[in-house]
């Protein structure tokens, strides 16, 4: 695994939020590499900076300092439009609150990223249908979010994240709003996708969810506290 080029690379990332004269150091010198095809779980207590990191990797936010590369490209050198295209083509994002458009049905929600695509994506409708079938919602395409269960809504969101065939799937507590049975289904779906070659990064509080991932990274106070891919880290800190 170490032989492959990292698809996500972070060097000494900090993210400081300023509120008035108060400063919150959400990320404090994070350095880590994630390789193509990995399934990574990010864990840690509330406020430890997991979401902050995910938003940086997802090209939704910019670091206060440090540098990061996605798929070999330095994000600091990209403008707003290029970041938008990166999110559209290379990244798929799944949120805890699903974030589906309430007035559009499942099919239309999944089509949306394809419609924003700037490179040729072929038959948009066929692709959207295929993605919904892949997540097991082939028979619910014309249902609006309100008419779907939580697990089904999250499947629609995953189908939407997959529509543009991203290389990386990012999920911030995707099962946080779901019961344990649905959680298992969603995590199995993620595992399937990972086996098909997609790099998956999941934030979670639950050890059971994290157990689906081959690698676990623990955060504490904006720093990487432990990383199963680098067992020496903990020892280096004397923990």
């Amino acid at each position: 695994m170490a032989a492959t080029r990292p698809i996500i690379s972070c060097r000494d990332l900090t993210r400081i939020y300023r509120m008035g004269d108060q400063e919150v150091r959400a990320l404090d010198g994070v350095t880590l590499d994630i390789h193509e095809g990995e399934f990574v779980a990010i864990m840690g207590p509330s406020g430890s900076g997991k979401s902050s990191l995910m938003n940086l990797i997802g090209a939704l936010d910019r670091p206060t300092s440090g540098e990061m590369w996605i798929n070999g490209r330095a994000l600091s050198e990209m403008n707003r439009d290029e970041l938008a295209d990166l999110r559209n083509e290379t990244l798929g994002f799944v949120f805890q609150q699903f974030n589906l458009l309430p007035r559009q049905d499942a099919f239309q929600n999944v089509r949306l990223p394809l419609r924003y695509a700037r490179k040729d994506v072929g038959d948009i409708d066929a692709r959207a249908r295929a993605c919904l079938e892949m997540v097991g919602l082939g028979s619910r395409m014309d249902h609006r979010p309100m008419q779907l269960s939580g697990g089904q809504q999250q499947r629609v969101a995953i189908a939407r994240a997959l529509a543009n065939r991203p290389r990386i799937l990012l999920a911030d507590e995707p099962t946080g709003a779901l019961d344990s049975k649905t959680t298992v289904e969603i995590m199995q779906l993620m595992q399937d996708l990972n086996r098909q070659g997609i790099t998956v990064v999941v934030i979670t509080h639950e050890a059971e969810v994290a157990s689906y991932a081959a690698r676990q990274i623990h955060f504490l106070d904006g720093k990487v506290e432990a990383d199963t891919a680098h067992p020496e880290l903990k020892r280096a800190r004397g923990g």
């Binding site: 994002f93 974030n99 949306l112």
Partner: protein
Amino acid sequence: MKYGVATSSAAEALFSNPLRSLLTMLGIIIGVASVMVMMSIGEGAKAAIEKQISAVGTNVLTLQPGTMNRGGRNQGGGSGRPFNETDVAAVADLPFVESATGILSGQANAVSEEANWVTNIQGGTASFFEVNNWKVDEGRAFSEQEAQGGAAVVVVGKTAAKNLFPGGNIVGQRIRVNSVPVEVIGVLESKGQGGGGGMGPDRDDTLVGPLSMVRNRITGGNRWVSRHVSRIQILVQDGYDVAEAQEEVSTMMRDRRRIEPGQPDNFMVVNFADMIKQRAAVAETMSTLLAFTAAVSLIVGGVGVMNIMLVSVTERTREIGLRMAIGARGGDILLQFLFEAIALCTLGGVIGMAIGWLGVLGYAQLSQAPMVVSPIIVATALGAAASVGLIFGFFPARRAAQLDPIQALRYD
């Protein structure tokens, strides 16, 4: 830019809350409706004036007694030295005159077998019809021989015909005019009303007979003037400058009357078409001003649209963040909200036009004033509405486009 997704998203937002959209459009609706009514009134007045000008003829001069003041108005209608038929002959001899007719007019009390009708009668030569560009609808006009011989015949205008013979069948009938029996030989085509704004005298309410017959038997004329005519109408040859002709007729009349240089004319040479055009220019300025006032309400409507669009951007901040998270560029978001504002205003414009059109119909019915809804008015009103959307939608749309993806996504 991705136009498809921007348009469909905009349309969806528009129809997801129809009542709110309608209320937002209200200012635009009122603005467009009033622009339309104002422009239609203006166009209608213009069309009426054009009709009057073509009824009068652009190359016709009228020579009448009296003097002209600086404003070009008639000072004391009948004053000044009267004309007679030798004046008509002298004018007709001018090289640039196509034809000329003397006219003697007076009141006429006409009696048919069916009805009584008080109207006016004009005596003229056979050239009367050519000079006035007035064709005979039914029957015929009188000939030069009949005019010279003083034949007891008349040609009647549409209004007089309708009132004298409500049952129709007019040509060949005998009527009495001021007790004198005459034969009706023709009916003139309609000329409509003469004055401005459609309110002038009815030019069709008249009888036309041979000049000598009218003078000798019906109106009497001025007994101190032999072969008296009340005015002379002159048809200037095609291509000859009418203002130049006006000048030359004036010079000739001064010569004939031996008016010393420095003394005022005791006649006037009037170009009615010119006077109507001057009045038209004033009317046009007025209607432009009114349309401009109406346009102000469009701007007020635009501010209303901008306000609601800003609210809408705030309400949909999370949606904007989501769209950005899955790859929408700032330009895509800009376009979506811009389209929404333009669609809102254009739709308001269409509704406003429908209402304005009803208003135009209603106003025309009430006032009898002619109003015209031309394609230019429709295009102007719609174009104005869409531009208001573009201008006032831009600021909210840009605000949406410049949102930070993560802040927008977290907004609540």
